[in-house]
Every structure is written in structure tokens, then in C-alpha cells.
């Protein structure tokens, strides 16, 4: 239209000053257009940063236009994760979780919204897994030491088990307080905090204007948006029987706006009399659960995938698949004989590399 106007307007004779300006103007427009298209193909890049927080390695990956923007967002997400780590640290005496544990059987403790949500979500997962996931396992898990290969005696485990029951967690939302009903009870939020932290980190990134990325808190992963080329993120599920190599994957799965977590018996473990003692303890026996070797769960929130993967690992493949169906979650379960159980919703998105 502009060209038409210029060419059919009698005032625009070739050689006139206005004509030259118009051509220059057109050229400038063209230049802008071409250079813009050149920019957009280079615009979105993937930035990634790894830090050690919450005693684990955390990697945040974002798609952003500039390094500055990416780093600003990533740093704010790391600060959020650090904050949640401090509030929920089972081992630090000053954390809110420790305060709740110290006041067990005595009184309720007023907690921050984060810890309240964390405990609420944990209790919800306990209900949905029939108590297979139970954060009050602290009175038993504290008896094991997987680095020093310490196995607790039967009596000690039996005594600890008496205090394991998520129904004895009393939550009062109106005053934001948590009360453990029995003295000696210990809540260990280790099976849900990392996922919860990933969820909160995502909120931070979104606030900073990031539209896609991955937060990986030691294998609890929350992915959002897509890669710069529009494809979904590719998440590897670790091969549960490749202990020497961290990057050996059993399968890869495509993920867009979802979370995935994997619970495995290979993470913290030792052998004693040819029995593998690992960190996922069955709240009914106080012993490591043995029905599965690896359980990966896909759902909307990482807090849920984190806790449900632990719960379903303990329940085993048959009951576990029922829970997945009821919750409408997707999952891949490798049972103790190496057989793979998979929800139908996962087909077409998963690619197996090596069978475990």
C-alpha cells in the first residue's frame, strides 16, 4: 500500500527529494524487518546453572533471551529453594520441622505457609497411599545410617514403629500450626521437600517472566513450557542397575508442563549379608521396601510426584498401579524382578534405551 501510494502520487517524481527519502525510508523498514527476523532465530537460548543446596545438587535450566535475565530469574529461584530447605531441614535444630518435632506431645507449633502446605500435602499423599508414604517415619529412619552402614536392632525398630502414624499429625489451618500428638514422634519431610521446592522455584521463575525451563532438585523434576525449537523437554530415567554411571538412562520421556520423580533402591544403600539396605523404609515393617527397584511418577506437581513415587515404591506394582489409575497420574514401575509396569497414558512419549 505504501509502495502504491508512493508510486501513484504525482508529487513523487523520481529524483525529487521526497522520492529519495521515501526510498530510504523503505530501505530502513526492510533492514529492520530482516534484522528482526535474524534476531528472533537467535533470541531464545537455554541457560543452566547448578548449585548445591539442601544437601543435594540442584540444576535450573531456563529459556531466556539474555544471560542477565536468565541469571536473575535462576538466582531468585535458588533463593526460594534455599529458604524452603532451611525451614524444612530435618537435621538442623533451628528449622520449623525440628521445632514441630521437639514439641511433639507437648504443643502445636506455629509455622510458615510453606511448612503448613508441605505437611498438608504430605498427609494428603499418606491418605491416598494408605499410609505407605508417611512422613512420621522419622522415628525409624533416624535409626539407620547409610553412610556408616549402621543397621538398627529389631527392638529399636519396633519401638520406633509405634510412633509412626500420619493420623497423629494434627493441622490447624486457622492459626497455621502443626501438632504431633505423641511424644517422641518425628516428621521427616525428606520424601516431599525436594519436589515442593521445585514447585516453588517454578513460581519464582514465572514471576521473573520465564516461560519455559526445568528445575531438577536431585531427580525431582518440574518442567514447564518447551525447548526453544518448540519440542518438549527430554527427561532421562536413570537405569536403576547402573551404579557407577550417573548419566546411564533406562528410558527417556517427553515432558512439557508436568513434574516427574523417581524413587529407587540405588540411591542411599549398603549391602549386609547380601541384602540391599536402602533408604526407602516401609512404615509397616520399618525395613527397606523390596517390591520395586525403581518407580517414576508423572503428575502436575513435583511435591506429589516426589511423595507418591516413595509411597508407590513401598506399595509395590499391583497396588501402585491402582493408585496411579485412581489419581489419574502416569508412571513407570520396575518391580523387583526387573519387569516394567506402565500406565497407558505414557505410551508414545517414552523410549526405552537399556532394560534394567
Amino acid at each position: 500500500m505504501k509502495i502504491n501510494f508512493i508510486l501513484h502520487n504525482p508529487e513523487f517524481g523520481p529524483g525529487s527529494l521526497r522520492y529519495i527519502f521515501s526510498v530510504l525510508h523503505l530501505s530502513a523498514c526492510l533492514l529492520l524487518l530482516v534484522s528482526l527476523s535474524a534476531c528472533s532465530s537467535q533470541k531464545d537460548r537455554v541457560f543452566s546453572k547448578t548449585r548445591v543446596l539442601m544437601d543435594t545438587a540442584i540444576t535450573i535450566t531456563v529459556v531466556a533471551a539474555s544471560q542477565e535475565g536468565a541469571e536473575k530469574a535462576i538466582d531468585s529461584a535458588f533463593r526460594e529453594i534455599e529458604k524452603i530447605g532451611k525451614l524444612s531441614d530435618f537435621y538442623s535444630s533451628g528449622s520449623e520441622i525440628s521445632l514441630i518435632n521437639k514439641k511433639a506431645g507437648i504443643s502445636g507449633v506455629k509455622v510458615s505457609p510453606d511448612v503448613l502446605q508441605l505437611v498438608e500435602k504430605a498427609v494428603y499423599v499418606s491418605e491416598k497411599t494408605g499410609g505407605a508414604y508417611d512422613m512420621t517415619i522419622g522415628s525409624v529412619s533416624g535409626l539407620y545410617d547409610f553412610h556408616k552402614k549402621v543397621l538398627p536392632g529389631k527392638d529399636a525398630v519396633r519401638k520406633g514403629l509405634r510412633l509412626v502414624n500420619y493420623r497423629d499429625i494434627s493441622i490447624d489451618r486457622s492459626v497455621s500450626s502443626v501438632f504431633l500428638k505423641k511424644e517422641g514422634m518425628l516428621i521427616d519431610p525428606g520424601g516431599i521437600t525436594k519436589g515442593y521446592a521445585a514447585d516453588k522455584a517454578l513460581e519464582c521463575l514465572k514471576k521473573e517472566g520465564i516461560a519455559s525451563g526445568i528445575i531438577s532438585v536431585a531427580g525431582d523434576i518440574r518442567a514447564f513450557g518447551s525447548k526453544p525449537d518448540g519440542r518438549p523437554w527430554n527427561i532421562g530415567i536413570r537405569n536403576p542397575r547402573a551404579e557407577s554411571r550417573e548419566d546411564d538412562v533406562m528410558a527417556t520421556i517427553e515432558l512439557m508442563d508436568a513434574a516427574i520423580s523417581t524413587s529407587g533402591d540405588y540411591e542411599r544403600f549398603f549391602f549386609s549379608d547380601n541384602v540391599r539396605y536402602h533408604h526407602i523404609l516401609d512404615p509397616r515393617t520399618g525395613r527397606p521396601a523390596s517390591r520395586c527397584i525403581s518407580v517414576s511418577i508423572i503428575a502436575d506437581e513435583a511435591a506429589y510426584t516426589d511423595a507418591f513415587s516413595t509411597g508407590i515404591f513401598i506399595m509395590g506394582p499391583e497396588q501402585g498401579m491402582k493408585v496411579l489409575e485412581e489419581m489419574k497420574f502416569n508412571g513407570v514401575i520396575v518391580d523387583n524382578r526387573g519387569r516394567i509396569h506402565m500406565t497407558p497414558g505414557i505410551g508414545g512419549r517414552i523410549e526405552f534405551k537399556n532394560s534394567p
Binding site: 508510486l7 526510498v23 554411571r245
Partner: protein, 129 residues
């Protein structure tokens, strides 16, 4: 069409100007590729602060000072491993060789990552488990 009329009425100088502008714009593509480093690199951080960024193509072993002493990072044949560590459990050494992803020594606060900053062809973007 109008474009033909435009071409007929433009002077040779206009055409030169047009082509020059187009060439300048297009050269942006080439320079962007040249200016952004695309080689995979090994990045070593202590306590979240980068201390080394090394080429994966150069075989070498570097000592990395952490709070507990020296962690030794070895690069060989485009792979990387932690070959020695002052930590108690040596989980980092047990991780072995990797060609993508990260090696971590929690006690000594050392994080080694390998891969491109702008990775397009990486087999996986993250690992669960």
C-alpha cells in the same frame, strides 16, 4: 506487479543501497554463530562459584580446592570424571566417567558440569532418579 514498477523506477544507486542493506542484515546470522561459543565445555564450580571452564577436547587433570581440600577432575577423550577427592564417602569418584550431565561432590562443594551452554542436540535435558 507493484514490485516490478518499483524496480523500474529505482536508480542503480537505490539497488546498490538495497542489496548492501540486505547483505548487512544477513551477515548477522553468520556473526551470531561465530561469536557464540558452541564447543562443549567442562564447567567446574565450588560453592556455586565458577572456578574453571575447560575445553572437553583437551585431556588434563585439574586440582580444585574446596573446603575439605583438593578434588581432582580429569578430562579425557571428551569425557570427565572426579579421579580423587578428600571426602569420606567418595560417591563422587564412584560416579565414574560422564559425557553429559553433572558430577557432584557434596562434602567438598564441587560441581562439574559438561555440555554446551546452548545445547540443542543433548540426548536428555535432565535425569530423574
Amino acid at each position: 506487479m507493484n514490485l516490478r514498477i518499483l524496480l523500474n523506477t529505482t536508480t542503480p544507486a537505490d539497488k546498490v543501497l538495497f542489496s548492501l542493506l540486505i547483505i548487512v542484515s544477513l551477515s548477522g546470522y553468520l556473526f551470531a554463530d561465530k561469536l557464540l561459543p558452541e564447543n562443549p565445555s567442562v564447567r567446574i564450580e565450588v560453592n556455586g562459584k565458577p572456578v574453571y571452564i575447560l575445553r572437553v577436547t583437551e585431556n588434563r587433570t585439574v586440582p580444585v580446592k574446596g573446603p575439605h581440600g583438593y578434588t581432582y577432575v580429569e578430562i579425557k577423550d571428551q569425557r570427565v570424571r572426579i579421579s580423587g577427592s578428600p571426602c569420606a564417602n567418595k560417591l563422587c569418584v564412584q560416579q565414574g566417567w560422564i559425557s553429559s550431565g553433572a558430577l557432584v561432590c557434596l562434602p567438598n562443594r564441587v560441581v562439574v558440569t559438561i555440555g554446551k551452554q546452548t545445547e540443542e542436540n543433548m540426548p536428555v535435558d535432565a535425569i530423574t532418579g
